[in-house]
Symmetry: C2
Subunit: 345 residues, 2 copies
């Protein structure tokens, strides 16, 4: 039977940061990455926790991300658009650099956008959403990924799993946050069905000839489908347009051409739109934050869950009791720390 080890959030963060330093990442890169990975593990969001370390390291080793990149905040102007060039590094460090300016402009103008260009991106979007809601602002965040999803009515991969995330600040509580793929399922879920030898639910995927399939192998060789049929497909396309083309960065098919694989972190851009509820609501009756609580109470009051509720429950547990890792996970962390980039192929 496998044993477990309990770490504090800070201890886990430090271990992950040390691994990234050993792998050659500079200060801003290793800190920003360790932060989101420790946060994922703390929130029991295993698919975005320590599991992601190797993927990030593989991307470094393949030369598809610059481990020593220093992101650059482009000359501030008077517009509502803040631009950060990640200079080939991970999106996370670029986001941290741009956040204060995004917040300042949103407070001044009521509405502003942060564009991140030339970045490698492998993390969930909710850490960025929560960084914005932590400032009392609402946030809408999106990015392309790689072409693995067919548009509704189509037959071949074109769109990415294109995550779409939103957050609304709440006082003395976790924010209202959703963050989901615009594909019906994540690629990892299809992989899990394959390993378990189970058929996929109907409507998840097409085979290589463009026909609906419930066979995981055929799906992995074909295309995933969007959530909600043509509506999800329209939103996935909107994300290619706004967070790929509009910001002058790669679309999902271009990312796949550039990388030649879906096993490395996608290289592209990201769009974050921040809004000030105080500025929008100014001069109108009612306080937007307390009115939002009435809506949330009505949702929860009829037995429905708010999105991220499970994740926040895990966070509260981790904050109180620490983060539980299996011995095998600890061994793997030790191995990554001692071998550095030699630990990955």
């Amino acid at each position: 039977m496998t044993g477990h080890v309990t770490l504090t959030h800070k201890e886990l963060y430090q271990r992950v940061e040390a691994i990234f330093r050993k792998a050659g990442l500079n200060d801003p890169q290793s800190r920003a990455l360790a932060k989101v990975i420790a946060a994922g593990e703390r929130d029991a969001c295993k698919s975005h926790g320590i599991y992601r370390i190797e993927g990030a390291m593989r991307t470094v080793k393949a030369g598809k991300v610059k481990p020593d990149a220093i992101p650059e905040l482009l000359a501030a102007d008077e517009t509502a658009i803040v631009k950060v060039n990640a200079r080939g590094g991970f999106a996370n460090a670029a986001f941290e650099l741009g956040l204060p300016e995004l917040v300042a402009r949103t407070r001044r103008l009521g509405l502003a956008a942060l564009v991140i260009n030339d970045c490698s991106h492998f993390s969930a979007l909710w850490p960025e959403v929560e960084a914005v809601t932590g400032e009392g602002l609402a946030a809408l965040v999106m990015c392309p990924s790689y072409a693995t999803v067919a548009p509704a009515g189509g037959s071949r991969p074109l769109l990415g799993t294109n995550p779409f995330a939103f957050g609304w600040p709440r006082q003395n509580q976790f924010p209202y946050v959703f963050d989901f793929a615009t594909s019906v399922a994540a690629r990892g879920e299809i992989e899990l069905h394959r390993r378990a030898g189970k058929p996929l639910p109907e409507g998840w995927a097409l085979d290589a000839s463009g026909k609906p399939t419930t066979e995981p192998e055929a799906a992995l060789a074909g295309a995933m489908l969007t959530f909600g049929g043509h509506k999800g497909s329209a939103i996935g396309t909107m994300i290619e347009l706004l967070a790929g083309i509009m910001i002058g960065d790669l679309t999902s098919p271009e990312v796949l051409d550039y990388l030649g694989t879906t096993t490395l972190a996608p290289f592209h851009g990201e769009l974050i739109i921040a809004m000030s509820p105080q500025a929008f609501a100014a001069g109108r009756p009612g306080d937007p934050f307390s009115r939002a609580e009435v809506l949330f109470d009505a949702i929860v009051g009829q037995g429905a869950r708010l999105p991220s509720q499970r994740r926040f429950a895990a966070r509260a547990r981790a904050d109180a009791e620490g983060i539980l890792l299996a011995d095998a996970e600890i061994e793997q962390l030790d191995r990554l720390l001692s071998l550095g980039l030699d630990a990955v192929v």
Copy 2:
């Protein structure tokens, strides 16, 4: 057999405008309404065409919209938020008043929002999306409606059918536009199933006790469901937050409380976010408009349709051949014109 009459777009617009004038609407209200209704009919979008005239008139007669309202552009400031108070009139006239200022600020700041408050709203969102794309800008538009939709995992109506619309400008072509309800189906579609005595597809609705139902009667007494399960529910909730609460206007449950019925046009607010692809893409490689065409070609090239394609085909046909109305429809228009508000209950 019923005969048909062919009208030009302009002739239809003039007839509809005359009806609204007879019904007591002032200049900006009747012109703005006639414009969107003639556009809906021209696009073979029958659910938003002349069929809507009576609903608008009923709302006037019930005293739930001010037919002589003069919308007010609130004092321009230096922010990215343009506010128009519809002063109890229809959203359409308020939108027309605010559009030039929205466009000017988006050109200056790269990103801006138009908030419409205290308006009655019954039209599709695509006319507004297209007005923004006509200026070379991208647009994201949303508004609540009335509480007829249960949140995912819930049992009772709370959210509205909350439409979500987006547009991207294209040169010498119809724009890329989607505009859909975040409920799985429109209430009208459930009504059509009821009239036809047909069961609903699974997943459309709950009965009054919160259990899934395929019976149209039970669904109309219960709640509709969101598209795409919890993801559509999250988007529907986001629309309540941004286009209801954040802009200091009514949420869908508050609209229903205020009106006491779903047979009148909802009274609330609307949020339009405009973005300048040129400003966002400045300094980056590639032209965003021609890059978008590559994406659209790839979608159409694999046999998928772009959203609104059918509507645009109808528009091209109507522009070439005129708009075909059944004799019964013409008679109804004549009746509405001669009787005014006496024609509706």
